[in-house]
Subunit: 511 residues, 2 copies
């Protein structure tokens, strides 16, 4: 007796999952371990495996099995029906883009990426422009084809690849709410923080000691080092599959926190991936629910949990232990002030919670204009500078501080940026409910206990995998559809708190 169509599909997607895991390792190695001169060889390996993955996913056999399995779902569990839906989704996305276009885009992106690195090194956008133009053209083609196949507007089709179930309507609503409040809030927050003293956190913080601290904190959070690693790379990232998760960060010997917070941001991603349902781990329904939710998990840990007074209380003795940090500048309040500093800056990855969404808004508008043709690639630097000036009141002095700062467009990731802002908004909405439901959360965090936090996230987010659409997941977890209300409430409370409330917090902690 041969296996049912559904069971055969599970088998096929198990194989695809193994391919994805292999690809993840090849990418991790390229960023962390690979010798510089081996990039071409690695590129060929990635292309071969990606092409094969695409061929296996779009094979007529998959379509036939999907048709048969979806025609008769009797006897299948809910999660299996959801799994079929996710299988179909992956196949639809893959088949909409012809393999020749995939391959042309991969090659163009690879060329553009190395030109982007050169252009950054030399500070010259012009040399990079033709390569970006090629990528824009190919992504435009891809968006059109994807849009037709998925019955979505072209840009929505790109967003759907990264954050399924979210559209420009959701993004526009969010940005409308945020742009109504953030500019004035930034002014107010800066005014508030200027009334308070800030002692500098100077010193030399060797990478080895920073690493030991990061490992200790990650262990408290629950990161399983027997099934994962922490390494260093140019930019922090998380790669791998549940069962072998690899987190990276970058240690700056002059900055005690950037490496730790980078590691914790990535640990947020990792804990999501590790909390995905073990029984479905090699199936599409067992994957994360898209980049917006992924980003919500990293931001929730980094921004909401770790840039908080309870966390500072937990970590303060560790700073003394690892670096011998002592003196008034290491007081909880002073450290907390550093971790929540608001600054109008030019660089997205250095931005605080308040200015960050404005960086994303700029990219969101520019990438839509690039794709529609409204904005020519050669005019990007000026449009960027004008946008920064309009939103944050500052202008880059060169393209490295401007439109050359992110890798995303070079590698063809259009439609990705909004997930960062969506992630922040989702994180705030989840965190509001979580705080209402987990008893004594702050006390736990101040003791370095993350089990209450993670238990709630596992039940309400991680453990669902991709079983329900993101909007349903949010409604289940918070009782409300996606909105920026919680985010605005959260940042107002955090960044406009009165001195009186701080003193009461401080004294209750001392009590």
């Amino acid at each position: 007796m041969s296996a049912s169509p559904y069971k055969q599909l599970e088998q096929e997607f198990r194989r695809l999952h193994a391919f994805r895991g292999a690809l993840a390792l090849l990418r991790w190695d390229a960023a962390v371990m690979m010798p510089r001169g081996s990039a071409d060889v690695r590129g060929e390996q990635l292309a071969a495996l990606e092409t094969e993955h695409h061929a296996l996913l779009t094979a007529p056999r998959i379509t036939r099995l999907l048709d048969r399995a979806q025609a008769n779902t009797q006897g299948l569990a809910d999660w299996q029906i959801a799994n079929l839906h996710e299988m179909r989704r992956q196949r639809d996305h893959a088949i909409a883009t012809p393999v020749t276009l995939v391959s042309r885009l991969t090659k163009a992106a690879s060329r553009a990426e190395s030109r982007w690195l050169e252009a950054r090194a030399q500070g010259k956008f012009e040399a990079f422009a033709p390569y970006l133009e090629e990528v824009v053209h190919l992504v435009r083609d891809k968006a059109a084809l994807l849009g037709q196949a998925l019955n979505l507007a072209p840009y929505d089709a790109l967003v759907d690849e990264f954050s399924p179930g979210l559209t420009t309507a959701d993004i526009d609503a969010m940005f409308k709410a945020l742009s109504r409040r953030l500019p004035s809030l930034i002014r107010e927050a800066i005014a508030v923080q200027e009334t308070r003293p800030l002692l500098p956190l100077t010193g030399k913080f060797p990478a080895g000691k920073q690493r030991a601290l990061a490992v200790e904190v990650m262990k408290s959070v629950g990161f399983p080092f027997e099934r994962g690693r922490l390494d260093e790379s140019e930019q922090p990232f998380t790669e791998g599959v549940p069962g072998d998760i690899r987190v990276t960060t970058r240690f700056d010997p002059n900055d005690i926190f950037s490496g730790l917070l980078g590691a914790l941001h990535e640990t947020g991603h990792a804990m999501y991936d590790l909390g995905l349902p073990q029984d479905w781990r090699d199936q599409p329904v067992g994957r994360d629910r898209g980049m917006a939710l992924e980003e919500s998990q990293s931001l929730l840990i980094e921004m909401m949990v770790c840039r908080s007074r309870p966390f500072v209380r937990y970590v303060q003795p560790l700073l003394a232990k690892h670096f011998g940090a002592s003196g008034p500048e290491w007081d909880v309040e002073n450290v907390y002030s550093h971790l929540t500093r608001v600054r109008r800056g030019l660089i997205r990855v250095d931005a605080d919670e308040l200015t960050y969404p404005l960086h994303i808004m700029l990219r969101y508008e520019l990438e839509k204009q690039l794709l529609s043709g409204e904005l020519a690639v050669r005019d990007l630097p000026e449009a960027w500078s004008a946008g920064m000036e309009q939103r944050l009141g500052i202008r880059p002095t060169n393209d490295v501080e401007g439109c050359l700062q992110d890798i995303h467009w070079a590698v063809g990731s259009f439609g990705y940026f909004p997930s960062y802002a969506l992630g922040a908004v989702i994180a705030a909405q989840l965190y509001e409910s979580l705080r209402a439901e987990v008893q004594e959360l702050d006390e736990q965090l101040a003791r370095g206990e993350f089990s209450g936090l993670l238990g709630w996230l596992r039940t309400n987010v991680h453990g669902l995998g991709a079983k329900v659409p993101v909007q349903d997941l949010l409604k289940g977890a918070t009782g409300k559809p996606l909105s920026a209300v919680s985010f605005v409430r959260y940042v107002e409370a955090k960044y406009l708190e009165s001195t009186a409330s701080i003193e009461s917090t401080a004294s209750s902690a001392a009590a």
Copy 2:
């Protein structure tokens, strides 16, 4: 116009090469970087890629293209015709073993490997025996099928997988010559070395400093760190593809040389791989010419070049630089005596040049008996002990020192061991010709110059890839077919040298 069948085949094998490179990285990572708990996940990834590689290689399309291309080779260059031959060889080997058998063997080997690790930890062969038995049964089936398909005796078919073009006839002839001379030579060499003083090389040699030394020496040899790495692992190995070669070693803080020599042995493999013809690098004809020749390259570097007085002269000042080594025990003669010490020992990987072939002979005879059924797996420990006693006059006191010491049989690598002894014999034959043809080789080596050595190897060995059979390659390089004559001459000269000749060498060096 569509590409010619030959060109289409090149394209197919380019893809297979990329798969092999990806598999190599997955294996390297598993041994060097992977967290312990991720072994299952990695096993799934390896199995998926290996199965796909097998499927691609045995697809009917490959057979059709091979038939068409080989039916009309007009217009093809010599190396392309050789490439077709190697393509056919790979396909014949792959297709002879049904994918179900491949998969059963992979799983049985994976089980046996973990039981082997446990059995070693507990010193108990019995617990491992049933798993080894399963592997033996499956390898026996495979050997029978391969033998039928390739028109070879079953064991020869296994040898042909590792060292194409070499047979039991070659191996038997070699071992006959070696067993005629080695036992008495070992006695004589030990008698000679007992007449000479030996000062111990004691001290603590931190892994970090050993690594720095190894890197410096590897750079002199020509290892390109911009396209390769040196790492640490339980057992030294070389993995990867030309363009990204990864070498490992193991540093023992009580032994100044074992880590360096491990690294140099592997560097010998790496330099072979790196010297393969760049233009054919992703084609079967561009691969190494089998494990016997691979091993000849690592042994030539480690045993012949690096366990020599000229090399000791080069490395002696580096020992002073990296470890502050000074005093009479670090004299060239005393260090050389350590590097060429002959001892009857139980462990193959610790064996010297003279006793090593006897370790291999034992394994060669036992593995043939296991496969033929003449020897039952449960009787292996006693057969091992008896064989050691007969050949080296010593008996293991437990199975860890005995038949549990090597991983090869657990993972199904039967027919592999002979390549180690063949490698030593080939290395000596090549080295004899090389020394006759490279002017002032010893003077170069004493200055840490390896270009003369590698130039000869590149011309006569590395640069040929798999274009000609190993016997033709040897005849081209040395004017003679494979024989143990050069090896015997080499070890006699090295291990029976008179005190007078040493003194003349020493004084001429001092002059």
